[in-house]
Structure formats: structure tokens, C-alpha cells
């Protein structure tokens, strides 16, 4: 567990020899010890192949590699930071919400349309997430940024969870998501509740929701 919370908007990371972390560029606030920050051309791991994938997917958040031994404080733009501990499952999150994460985690990109077909693509547009999202898989910790605090809602096979797409931050586990529309006749005649779209998550896992409808 490399991240400890300093306050709601700052995390401290311990790094030792042989360990490696990735963080968003410029997210270091202060450090003590002998730590180096190197920019990654390809934004994380995966070499050139994944880099091309990322360029097309537009999920290329500039990252830097953090190595050495010491303690580093991370924070960015005064956003709230939520630490997610992964134990083998996959976390789906927007690249620009990643503050820092363990180097042991496997990074990938996922095409939104592969879940829910056309609606999946619409979903990406509605949530402002585009067509691709970043995946992190394995054993390790991830520090995710959010606007306002974050709550974790469990998703069980018995009960799907509905989330306002704008308040959605990330989710983990074996979860299917689809965009459900609640367009009634009222919306048609111009008395919309402002909640016309909802994100329906079903399966087994956790969804992270922020206390705000603002993007980062």
C-alpha cells in the first residue's frame, strides 16, 4: 500500500529501490529523499504499440515515471483524491483522472463501444468520456482525482446501480454498463428533470461517484 492520505486533497507515497510509480505530469507537490521524475514519451508502459493505440484513442495523458527512494507528496489542482486498492481486478477510469498509480499495474485502453454497442458510444459522449477509457489491472494502488468527495457504491447481481453520468468517476470489477434513458413525454414538451440519462451498472463490483456534476 504505497499511498497514505495526508488530507482530502493530498496523498503521500513511499517509494523504495526497485519500485516504480507513474503519476500525471506536474502532480508532484514536494518530495524528500532521492527521487527522480522522468517523462514518459508513450504515457506509461506498453512501448510504441500501445502508444499508437493511445494516440488514436486520445487517452494519452502525459505521465512521468517516479523512481528512487524517499517520500513524495502528490496532489493536483486542489481536486479531491481517492485511493483505490486493487486486488487483481480491473479498474476502469478516465486517463485524466489518474493522479498516480503503482508501476506494477497493467495499463490498457478499452473501447467504449464494446460494451453496449451504439449506446456505449453515446454513453461516452454523454459522460464526456469519449470512446475510450483507460484500464488498470493487477495488484496495487491507484490515486484517482475527483471533484468533491467520492463515495463507493457496491454493485451486486441482485441490484444494478444507477448513476448520473456526470458524477461517474470510475468503476472496478466485472461490471456491465449501459446508458438508460428515462425520457418521458414530459421531457418532450420541455419539462425535463435534467436527469434524462442514467448510467446503469450491473454485475459484481464497485462504482465510484463524486459529489459534483462538474468535470475536472
Amino acid at each position: 500500500m504505497p499511498f497514505t492520505s495526508v488530507n482530502s486533497r493530498m496523498v503521500r507515497a513511499q517509494i523504495g529501490p526497485g519500485q516504480r510509480m507513474y503519476s500525471q505530469r506536474g502532480a508532484m507537490l514536494a518530495y524528500q529523499g532521492d527521487v527522480s521524475f522522468t517523462p514518459n514519451i508513450q504515457g506509461g508502459q506498453g512501448g510504441i504499440g500501445s502508444m499508437i493505440g493511445r494516440r488514436i484513442a486520445n487517452e494519452a495523458t502525459p505521465l512521468m515515471t517516479v523512481e528512487g527512494s524517499g517520500t513524495v507528496l502528490f496532489g493536483h489542482g486542489g481536486h479531491h483524491i481517492h485511493v483505490v486498492d486493487l486486488t487483481g481486478e480491473t479498474l476502469y477510469v478516465e486517463a485524466d483522472r489518474l493522479l498516480a498509480f503503482d508501476g506494477t499495474l497493467q495499463q490498457g485502453t478499452m473501447f467504449m463501444g464494446s460494451q453496449g454497442g451504439v449506446m456505449g458510444m453515446v454513453r461516452g459522449q454523454v459522460t464526456g468520456q469519449g470512446l475510450f477509457t483507460t484500464t488498470l489491472k493487477g495488484q496495487g494502488a491507484v490515486a484517482v482525482m475527483a471533484h468533491g468527495g467520492v463515495i463507493e457504491l457496491p454493485i451486486t447481481p441482485q441490484g444494478p446501480v444507477h448513476v448520473d453520468p456526470q458524477a461517474y468517476v470510475a468503476h472496478r470489477g466485472d461490471v456491465r454498463n449501459k446508458l438508460s434513458t428515462a425520457l418521458g413525454w414530459r421531457d418532450m414538451v420541455g419539462r425535463g428533470s435534467g436527469e434524462a440519462f442514467q448510467l446503469e451498472l450491473s454485475g459484481q463490483g464497485t462504482v465510484y461517484v463524486q459529489a459534483s456534476e462538474e468535470k475536472l
Partner: protein, 212 residues
């Protein structure tokens, strides 16, 4: 002695019994009792201070608040941190200084290149004496201790203030990759050495060095 209290983390309450405090112009949000507000020209350290401020560009619009009762101060919902000074010097950006005991002396000091990198000019404000001061930060600040064995490097945009006997100098983390056009966004840091405390906020001001 005026008593400084925090109401929540974003409002400062100062209890006064006929004494005075210096505060950022316009930072009063409410008061009870009887108060007078007087604008102090040039940061309130006399004619010499005014001249230095004019020359250094470390502008500080200060008012003197005097009276009996409680005065409440806030600054754009920024977090407020209380600092208790026992004769040492507090170095802080003028924009981050909210309120000080009237007994504390304020002045300016030369910071050199560091200030320029932060877009704050070459000078910073000092507060000296015994009493309380309140500084604002963008998000809750942490106080990091620097010792002889443990120097500290801080992102210039996240630096708020420091106290104690610290030497600071500017270091660049530029390596060949940076020249290859891939900056890490951490090309410059302020390195603090010595014994003291540094206040760091969880947000980065836009700095010249921050883009590199």
C-alpha cells in the same frame, strides 16, 4: 493581544479588546461590536516600507482593523492556516497573507530567481515578531519539517510559506529528455536546506516553470 480562532477551515474569527490587527484589504466578511477600518498605505510599514514596496512590486493592500468585538475574515473560500510566531520570521507571498497581529512587523525580502519563476516577482513578504498570523492556501496546506539530514524539494507552484532558518535555492531537474521536447512538468523545484517548516498546498499556481 487579539485572539485568532478558526471557524471551520475557511473563516477566521479575531476577538479584539481595543487592540488592532492588519488584514488584507476587503477580507472582512462580518463583525460584531465596534470596529474601525483604516486603509494603510503601502503595506503598513511606514514610509520606507512603502518605498520598498513600490520598488519591489510586492504590492500588499492592507487595512488596520481596530475595536472591541469579533471580526470575521475570509478570502474567496480559501483554506486558512494559523501560524504562531515566537520571534522568528515568516516568509510568505503577499497574496497568501490574510491577517497578522498588529504587533508583527511586515517587510519585504529579496528571493531572486525563485520568485520570478512563480510569477511573483523577485521579492516576497516577511512577517516578524511575536504573535499570530493567518495565511491562506488553495486547499488544506500541510506543514513539512525540514531538518539538516532531510532537505525538501517543493514544486514552486505549490509553495505557500516557510519559517525557520532555511536556505532556499532553485534547482532544475532538466535532463537530456527535457531537451528532447518531453518535459515532465517538474523541471524546476525549490530546494530547502536547514531547519524549519514549509507550508505546501495541494494545488499548483500557474508558474513559468510549470509548463516545462
Amino acid at each position: 493581544m487579539a485572539q485568532f480562532r478558526l471557524q471551520g477551515s475557511k473563516v477566521l474569527a479575531v476577538d479584539m479588546t481595543g487592540d488592532a490587527v492588519k488584514a488584507k484589504n476587503g477580507a472582512m466578511v462580518a463583525y460584531d461590536g465596534r470596529m474601525t477600518f483604516k486603509k494603510m498605505t503601502g503595506g503598513g510599514d511606514g514610509l520606507r516600507g512603502m518605498v520598498t514596496r513600490r520598488l519591489t512590486g510586492e504590492q500588499m493592500e492592507v487595512m488596520e482593523v481596530k475595536g472591541h468585538g469579533t471580526c470575521y475574515f475570509a478570502d474567496r473560500a480559501s483554506e486558512i492556516n494559523l501560524v504562531q510566531l515566537h520571534g522568528e520570521k515568516l516568509y510568505v507571498e503577499a497574496s497568501n497573507l490574510l491577517c497578522t497581529d498588529a504587533a508583527l512587523r511586515t517587510g519585504t525580502t529579496f528571493t531572486g530567481l525563485r520568485g520570478a519563476s512563480q510569477g511573483n516577482g523577485l521579492f516576497t513578504t516577511t512577517v516578524e515578531g511575536s504573535g499570530q498570523a493567518a495565511i491562506v492556501s488553495d486547499g488544506p496546506a500541510v506543514v513539512l519539517r525540514v531538518t539538516k539530514q532531510y532537505p525538501l524539494q517543493v514544486d514552486p507552484g505549490a509553495y505557500v510559506a516557510h519559517t525557520g532558518d532555511l536556505k532556499q535555492h532553485f534547482q532544475s531537474g532538466v535532463n537530456f529528455r527535457t531537451f528532447m521536447g518531453e518535459g515532465s512538468g517538474e523541471s524546476f523545484q525549490i530546494r530547502f536546506e536547514g531547519e524549519g517548516l514549509v507550508y505546501v498546498q495541494p494545488s499548483e499556481r500557474n508558474t513559468v516553470g510549470g509548463e516545462l
